[in-house]
Symmetry: C2
Subunit: 276 residues, 2 copies
């Protein structure tokens, strides 16, 4: 993989509970984008504001089910690499997950580790480390929305070799879009934050999402940014291999300069285990 | 310690090589600030742009020497807690260090771990983990300038219980001031970034420093900010115990939500040690 790729975000307003309509909308955006890699928002097959766990279960998808077959068809025919968020049914649990589907059909799931606020009442937290997938469009890592607050997730992905972090989101504030500049810079990786737009008023509050999806370079440059309130596909041409260059100055390699031996307290349990 | 404190930054332009003049300037700012805690810039006793290692050695201070006796006198009489950056002589090495001097004379040194660019030609890198000091004005951690790029330092200090991170700096860009918002938010700590102003043209380049020293709350609010180009003392009243509140939402405790067991690759060596 030594070429530029066309990377896109499909920012839209999912219709709550109407999986079929959302899949059709995503399909149209895939067509419009003509991209090698397209990222969609968090929970974009279902909508966000579930009233309770039962509703989340009812709208959850099984990666072995018909909808994923349909996604794999899209990925095989077009062919883009697809990343999108969905409620995942797995045994008795529902996770707030996202999937990467490659043209060859390989499907990788990431389950959101840091659940936001009342999501804790609806979903089980992620139970596996975030991992990096070596694809035809570069080495890809995934994280979801509120994961941005915890620097460890993007760091872990970058240290595992991620060149592009795909970041499906349902953001109601705008801090994250600014923060991702620093997640890109501190890790030297491309980041693609795909946020949704529109409002949901399904409980005793109204949530309005802030759009402004963005694609940032491995140095934090804004390669593409969407409007805060309009459905749109944004796209940029990027060279994933540039993320291999971790030299922030002539003398600073942001990974080799790390001093794990001096970061007291970051991994307490492992350090204790190491002493036994 | 259950009270509000007055915290200040003394932003000034050190005169290169004129330690005496810089100490007098700092003394005047201590007087002006009337603060419980005052932070000064990185390398503010000496200036920044050493031509070579010999020059750094010549201007380095020994924490057992006369200048530190003088600082302890200030801290004892006023009494503020003083934090300032200085080149530290220790055996055959010179470190880019900062000191915390408490009114009782206790002196704690932090040696900059992540040296910036050609500082690597001048200084030995920090050789000890950053630590937290329990003082009469709260639990204090220190980091220096470019350390901000590495999220591990502020994280390590916060996990060790820091309520206030004192951050002497010599910044030539303005990314850091924006980034510290996120260091405050992601760790729930007060941050005090004291930058210098003015220019130095002692080699084949001219460095201009960006001022804009700032004091941020544990939620990232700007409590005080200095001009980019003027010597000034800025101050704010803050309640260090507020940093004990790590609830970012009603359901999110930013430390308890961390999943060290899932942060693959962050502490590789220790993890390996843990398996042995």
């Amino acid at each position: 993989m030594n070429e530029t790729i066309r990377a896109a975000c499909g920012q839209f307003q999912p219709q709550f509970g109407n999986v079929q309509a959302n899949l059709v909308r995503m399909s149209a955006m895939v067509e419009e984008a003509q991209a090698d890699l397209i990222v969609f928002p968090e929970l974009c097959t279902s909508g966000y504001e579930f009233r309770d766990r039962h509703e989340a279960e009812a709208l959850a998808l099984d990666p072995g089910g018909a909808e994923f077959h349909w996604f794999r068809e899209i990925a095989a025919n077009d062919p883009p690499h697809l990343v999108f968020g969905f409620p995942e049914r797995s045994h008795q649990s529902v996770f707030n997950s996202c999937a990467l589907i490659e043209p060859n059909g390989r499907t990788t799931i990431y389950r959101k580790i840091h659940l936001f606020d009342r999501e804790k009442n609806l979903f089980a937290p992620g139970d596996k480390p975030p991992k990096v997938i070596d694809t035809g469009v570069g080495r890809i890592g995934m994280m979801i929305c509120f994961d941005w607050v915890f620097p460890e997730i993007a760091r872990s992905l970058a240290l595992q070799g991620a060149q592009i972090i795909c970041h499906p989101s349902n953001l109601v504030l705008t801090y994250c879009q600014r923060a991702m500049f620093f997640r890109s810079v501190e890790n030297g990786v491309f980041t693609m934050t795909c946020n949704r737009i529109g409002s949901e008023a399904r409980s005793n509050r109204t949530l309005t999402f802030t759009g402004a999806s963005q694609i940032l370079s491995n140095r934090g440059a804004t390669l593409a940014q969407a409007a805060p309130d309009r459905e749109e596909v944004i796209a940029a041409t990027l060279h994933p291999l540039e993320a291999e260059n971790k030299m922030l100055t002539a003398n600073n390699h942001i990974f080799n300069d790390r001093r794990e031996d001096l970061y007291a307290g970051l991994c307490v349990e492992r350090a204790v285990a190491g002493r036994s």
